[in-house]
């Protein structure tokens, strides 16, 4: 004890202020817990990507190819020509600072280089020096920086501290999308063989077997059968869950986590119960066994390659249209890029709900409907029977995932479903939800265990809003419609607000759904209902 006391007197003399550092200084300390491991070279090769090699960010020498600088600058030139938005974003920022305090990584870490304007500046400074006339002449005076190995390391560090969530762009008067700048930076790094394994390995698995985990067709079929058994135990009803059924009306594509991870799985059971109850003619596909697309976090080319299977499988199975499950970045790809990348899907029909007759006009191009749109329409048309009391053990709030809210504007449908299936629903504060939602802090491939400290920082703004509704209303369930969220909000809650669990919107549907002939006494997690009388009263 006396040693402790002696030590703390010394501590009191510490100079608490961090050293003043010029932002242009690119030196990075790769501290444990705040960066991701480099790609497995085997999988880099598998994807036919260049410069596959062992690469440890902590080591001084990154074994860059000799002409790395030319490769990067050439890559930048190509992209400036190919993407007008990239060029505009490099040129028009007036440094007004409106975005500066909007990034969850800045808010949680306090690191100024996590201000979106500075994050972009890391790339922009190189652009300015090598591509703008003023920069070529004035160099540093015009805000230009030379591209050095240190700068490259800094890019790696900070562009993998951006979850491409686009919150900053909501506040930018010029709509500059820092997420797109991050995407460009990551593409450039890949040109010289620098990437992270949590993106490369799932992408390689996905390319090989159709899903991020590398589950083969028989494994997928087993997991669906297993879920059918589970649902039979829980409800007394054995549903049909067709796999690779040719001629089915609808192809159903889910993120792979739905059928193997907790708590996603309960939402998966919810989908299957719902489809059974309405007698939907649908099928899973063993190759389109992953809606998620880690290619989005890698490069546009990779995203296109991984996405192609969805239309290919729809064509092979001869379905009319497609429904997609609860996933965030999967929907960003489907909604914003699929049609241009791998369309037109003119071999499919415009989606019409076979149960309600509703025409999903918004899905005219892609022919793909979000499960929440589909279910909200069923409820709206009174096509299913719901007993929300079965969710009375949950006091629920809803986290908008960045992609479904900001990238596709799917804001009201999940809320409508939750209000119809749960009696106790409370919103988090307005400036933390809908378009202004705070990211989970682990999206875009950053959800690794080696990066956990950084994720806890980035997720803190979200967690702090959850804590607020937990303290105020007793919220104990954070629902969402994104597979990455379900995986990463769970540890986030465990650290910041351990009283709150994470669940799927369709878990709430599955719980509340009154099924013909059912014998149920528990929810989909095998927890008994709160009240006896909740059992069917008809």
């Amino acid at each position: 004890m006396s040693d402790d006391l002696a030590k703390k007197e010394e501590l009191a003399k510490i100079d608490f202020k961090p050293p003043k550092k010029d932002w242009t200084d690119p030196t990075i300390e790769f501290r444990k817990g705040s960066f991701n491991y480099g790609s497995n070279p085997k999988n880099v090769e598998y994807l036919d990507l260049p410069y596959a090699r062992e690469f440890d960010p902590r080591k001084e020498d990154w074994n860059l190819p000799d002409n790395w600088k030319e490769i990067i600058l050439e890559g930048m030139r190509d992209r400036l020509m190919k993407y007008r938005s990239f060029r505009v974003f490099m040129d028009i920022c007036v440094r007004c600072g409106a975005c500066a305090d909007k990034c969850h990584f800045f808010l949680g870490s306090g690191d100024p280089k996590n201000m979106p304007v500075l994050r972009a500046e890391l790339l922009r400074s190189v652009y300015r020096r090598d591509f703008s006339t003023a920069g070529k002449i004035l160099g540093k005076l015009a805000g230009g920086r030379e591209l050095t190995p240190q700068v490259l390391k800094e890019w790696f560090y900070y562009f993998y501290q951006c979850t491409e969530c686009r919150r900053c762009s909501v506040f930018c008067p010029y709509c500059i999308d820092t997420a797109e700048i991050t995407m460009m930076a990551r593409e450039l790094l890949h040109l010289v063989g620098i990437g992270i394994d949590w993106i490369t390995t799932p992408a390689a698995n996905c390319f090989r077997t159709g899903n991020h985990l590398g589950i083969q067709p028989h494994g997928f079929k087993d997991s669906v059968d297993f879920a059918v058994d589970d649902l039979a135990d829980l409800t007394g009803i054995r549903v049909e869950a067709p796999v690779n059924k040719k001629g089915a009306e609808i192809l159903f594509v889910v993120p792979s986590a739905d059928y193997f991870a907790d708590p996603h799985y309960y939402g998966f059971l919810g989908y299957m119960a719902l489809f059974h109850e309405i007698g939907l003619d649908y099928t899973f596909s063993t190759y389109a066994s992953e809606g998620g697309n880690f290619g989005l976090f890698h490069s546009s080319e990779m995203m296109k390659r991984l996405n192609a299977k969805i239309y290919a499988e729809a064509r092979r199975l001869g379905v009319k249209w497609i429904i997609g499950g609860e996933c965030g970045h999967m929907w960003r790809v489907l909604h914003q890029y699929m049609d241009t990348m791998n369309g037109p899907a003119d071999f499919l029909e415009e989606p019409i709900s076979p149960i309600t007759g509703t025409k999903f006009e918004n899905a005219k191009c892609t022919k793909m409907v979000h499960i929440c749109e589909f279910t909200a329409d069923l409820i709206h048309n009174n096509k299913i029977k719901l007993d929300p009391r079965r969710n009375d053990h949950w006091t629920v709030t809803f986290h908008d995932s960045c992609n479904t809210s900001r990238a596709m504007g799917l804001i009201e449908e999940p809320r409508y479903i939750l209000r119809q299936t749960c009696n106790k629903f409370h919103e988090m504060p307005e400036n933390t939800i809908k378009e202004q939602t705070f990211c989970c802090g682990s999206g875009s491939g950053l959800g690794t265990d080696e990066n956990l400290e950084m994720r806890m920082r980035g997720g803190f703004p979200r967690a702090s809003a959850v804590k607020y509704v937990h303290d105020k209303h007793g919220v104990n369930l954070l629902t969402c419609i994104c597979a990455i969220d379900k995986a990463t909000l769970t540890p986030l809650m465990e650290y910041w607000v351990p009283e709150v669990q994470v669940g799927a919107v369709h878990e709430m549907v599955g719980n509340a759904l009154v099924m013909e002939g059912e014998t149920r006494t528990t929810d989909l997690r095998s927890q008994p209902y709160e009240r006896e009388e909740v059992e069917r009263d008809d």
Binding site: K8, R31, G38, R208, L213, G214, N431, E494, Y495, W496
Partner: protein, 180 residues
């Protein structure tokens, strides 16, 4: 005047200065922001620090209730445990209170008259610092637990029930057989 009365009277001034000294542990642009933005959801770290040190201070000048202190320390230490601080940097803010009190009270502290109370105050601050160390360790332990649980959860249903295919492994810094 007894020191405790002075400390209560000067609560806001002490807390203001203590807060300033804590946010100065962040880089310049950040500390300005932490001080200025008052909306708790737009500035969750600043809000948590302010709330936390307010409660800590109130306990120091009153009951020193350990439960309350632990709860109050949690608000700030849980954050600093995952930020870019070493263990000593994460908890050092507690000791700063000693300096802050002297700065704020200035010549209203009479070394002679208040010597006993000062010693008592400093020993209370020391006790809080020790609790802060405990809290830091608790948060770091929790982090390890979170990490382990995450790895387990990621594949629980898969490994237990499903016939797994190829390629589930990932690279952890060294060459890995991906099973294919």
């Amino acid at each position: 005047m007894v020191l405790t009365v002075l400390l209560i009277e000067k609560r806001e001034a002490v807390l203001g200065r203590w807060f300033d000294s804590i946010i100065k542990t962040y880089p310049p642009g950040t500390s300005e922001f932490l001080a200025k933005q008052k909306d708790r959801f737009r500035n969750p770290v600043g809000h948590a620090i302010a709330e936390s040190i307010g409660s800590i201070y109130d306990e120091i000048v009153s009951e020193m209730d350990t439960g309350e202190l632990r709860r109050a320390l949690d608000g700030i230490i849980r954050i600093r445990s995952v930020q870019d601080f070493t263990a000593s940097e994460a908890v050092a803010f507690v000791f700063q209170l000693k300096t802050v009190v002297r700065e704020v009270l200035g010549n209203r502290i009479d070394e002679h008259e208040h010597s006993h109370e000062l010693a008592d105050l400093e020993s209370r601050i020391d006790q809080v610092a020790l609790l802060a160390f405990d809290k830091y360790m608790e948060c770091r332990d929790k982090l390890h637990e979170v990490r382990t649980n995450e790895i387990r959860r990621r594949s629980e249903i898969l490994f237990e029930k499903v016939n797994v295919g190829c390629g589930v492994s990932r690279h952890e810094g060294g060459p890995v057989d991906d099973g294919s």
